[in-house]
């Protein structure tokens, strides 16, 4: 437990010191999406009886929580391992690998939640009308945990800093566009739809949208995300036990 709290405290200090940088950088991409797609298409486009901005915001929340949670852990942890070597301080300390991993993953998820709250606030200013309830927040937190744990795993697996940029280019960025964040997957060819449905971001955008628009949550969505969370965390723990 002391390891978990120590990691959280360190992340809190980092957050406090870089508050404005973190806050403004959390706003840039979603703000651009809202301006171009929200204002640009906004209420003039209607998807199955839903204003496009209301359709869009849950997708932006999903992709922003993914991006923020992933990058809040992946980049600093890879620097701590490969460059600053500060990871060693945690590996030598009398804490379990589980408490270290839990601290990092939860800290990353909290950063995702912070970014999401900013986006939701901005989207209401943009005129979005959505149902934000406990289930929405729970799905959002689950998505944050999934990508924070992926960030933890990737940070420990990569061999150099350019590897991180490559992972972002080939895995994270494509998911932003294809996982049902900006458009409905109904018109995607069936085979492609099955593939996209099992990508880790799709259940988040589908689940969040269903709740935000007052529909029923597809049960497969949290189930797939929990499976990913367990996979990434378990794999991350395994790698962390051996990382040098």
């Amino acid at each position: 437990m002391s390891g978990f709290l120590a990691v959280l405290w360190r992340e809190y200090l980092f957050f406090k010191r870089r508050f404005w940088t973190i806050t403004t950088s959390s706003m840039v991409a979603p703000l651009l999406y809202l301006i171009t797609f929200g204002w640009g298409l906004g209420r003039s486009v209607n998807l199955s009886g839903v204003d496009y901005i209301n359709f869009l915001v849950p997708g932006i929340v999903a992709l922003s929580t993914m991006n923020t949670s992933f990058n809040a852990i992946a980049t600093p942890l890879s620097i701590a391992r490969l460059y600053d070597k500060t990871l060693e301080e945690y590996m030598v300390a009398p804490i379990t690998i589980l408490s270290f991993a839990a601290g990092k993953i939860v800290a990353g998820a909290m950063r995702g939640i912070y970014a999401a709250l900013i986006i939701i606030t901005i989207s209401f200013i943009f005129g979005a009308r959505l149902e934000i309830n406990v289930l929405f927040l729970a799905l959002m937190f689950l998505n944050c945990l999934v990508f924070s744990s992926l960030g933890f795993l990737v940070a420990l697996k990569i061999k150099s800093h350019p590897d991180m940029a490559r992972f972002n280019n080939f895995v994270i960025t494509p998911m932003i566009f294809i996982c049902g964040t900006f458009f409905s997957l109904d018109r995607v060819p069936e085979i492609m739809r099955h593939v996209i449905n099992v990508l880790p971001l799709t259940p988040a955008s589908q689940g969040l949208r269903a709740v935000a628009l007052g529909g029923e949550i597809p049960l497969w969505a949290p189930a797939v995300q929990i499976a990913y969370l367990l996979l990434f965390t378990g794999w991350g723990l395994y790698v962390c036990n051996r990382v040098e």
Binding site: S2, G3, L5, A6, W9, R10, L13, F14, R17, D84, K85, T86, E88, E89, Y90, M91, V92, A93, P94, I95, T96, I97, N241, R242, E244
Partner: protein, 278 residues
């Protein structure tokens, strides 16, 4: 206190430690010497669970070394070769973080921090970000951090590398003071005078193997306490003898450019590391 039994570490085809066995007793000040790539840092990293050995067994204070064994970890304080302090945190925050990681109660931690800043003369830098400290100050902070939890064993991996003479002497005094307090110390160094000045026992490593270990006098006796140094064909050659009489007798037949003197650690190091590679 520290026991390594047939420890091997391989990185692909490269053997960093080769079936190394070593026992370090409680209260010893053990110096590990060796040329670059001898395996000194790998050995320190294995003892502190930062590196997993390919084979062999490592015990620290009777506990098997592995990353999830928190019992042995609380016994160890590590000062790594490189600076691994949190650069964005201040001096005090780095120590506070260490205190939290080691489960030290807040009040006790504050007291320890005050004491250690005083000991390392960093009190006036308490609120300075680590990134803004000089190299010598960072080394001292690394030592202070390693002492926060009062470890029984201190592992120092080239603690004075890159420091000027004055800073090096200050770090030496710190380390000497710690040994006087009864802490078991393992030190790796390139500086032979450092090992000679500080260590009660020395081990010579080369290509992952322990060539020899013992006190300085024991090492001298193993190789020869008296040395005849001859400068011949643009090269210095050393001959070791068990006493002065034997050395003088040999020197008398060698011609010019001869010096007869007591052997030093440097002579033993050169003899062993060059001998074994021939």
């Amino acid at each position: 206190m520290i026991a390594l039994d047939q420890v091997t570490k391989r990185y692909g085809d490269t053997v960093s430690l080769d079936s190394l066995s070593l026992h370090i007793k409680e209260g010893e000040f053990f110096g590990l010497l060796g040329p670059n790539g001898a395996g000194k840092t790998t050995l320190i990293r294995i003892i502190s669970a930062l590196t997993v050995p390919t084979s062999g067994r490592v015990l620290v204070a009777g506990e098997p070394v592995n990353r999830n064994n928190t019992k042995f970890k609380s016994q160890i304080g590590l000062v790594p070769q490189h600076n691994n302090l949190e650069p964005e945190l201040t001096v005090v925050e780095n120590l506070q973080l260490h205190g939290m990681l080691y489960g030290i109660p807040k009040k006790e931690s504050a007291g320890r921090i005050k004491e250690l800043l005083d000991f390392t003369r960093l009190t006036d830098k308490a609120d300075t970000q680590v990134g803004k400290l000089s190299g010598g100050m960072k080394r001292k902070l690394l030592i202070a951090r390693a002492l926060m939890h009062k470890p029984a064993i201190l592992l120092l991996d080239e603690p004075t590398v890159g420091l000027d003479v004055s800073s090096r002497r200050k770090v030496w005094d710190l380390i000497k003071g710690l040994h006087k307090r009864g802490i078991t110390i393992v030190l790796t160094t390139h500086y032979l005078e450092e090992a000679e000045a500080l260590c009660t026992k020395i081990g010579l490593l080369k290509k992952g193997r322990l060539l020899m270990s013992g006190s300085l006098d024991e090492l001298k006796n193993m190789v020869g306490p008296v040395v005849v140094e001859q400068f011949y064909n643009d090269k210095t050659v050393l001959y070791f003898y068990k006493d002065q009489k034997e050395a003088l007798k040999a020197a008398s037949s060698m011609g010019e450019g001869i010096t007869v003197r007591q052997s030093r650690l440097e002579d033993i190091f050169v003899k062993l590391t060059e001998e074994k590679s021939e």
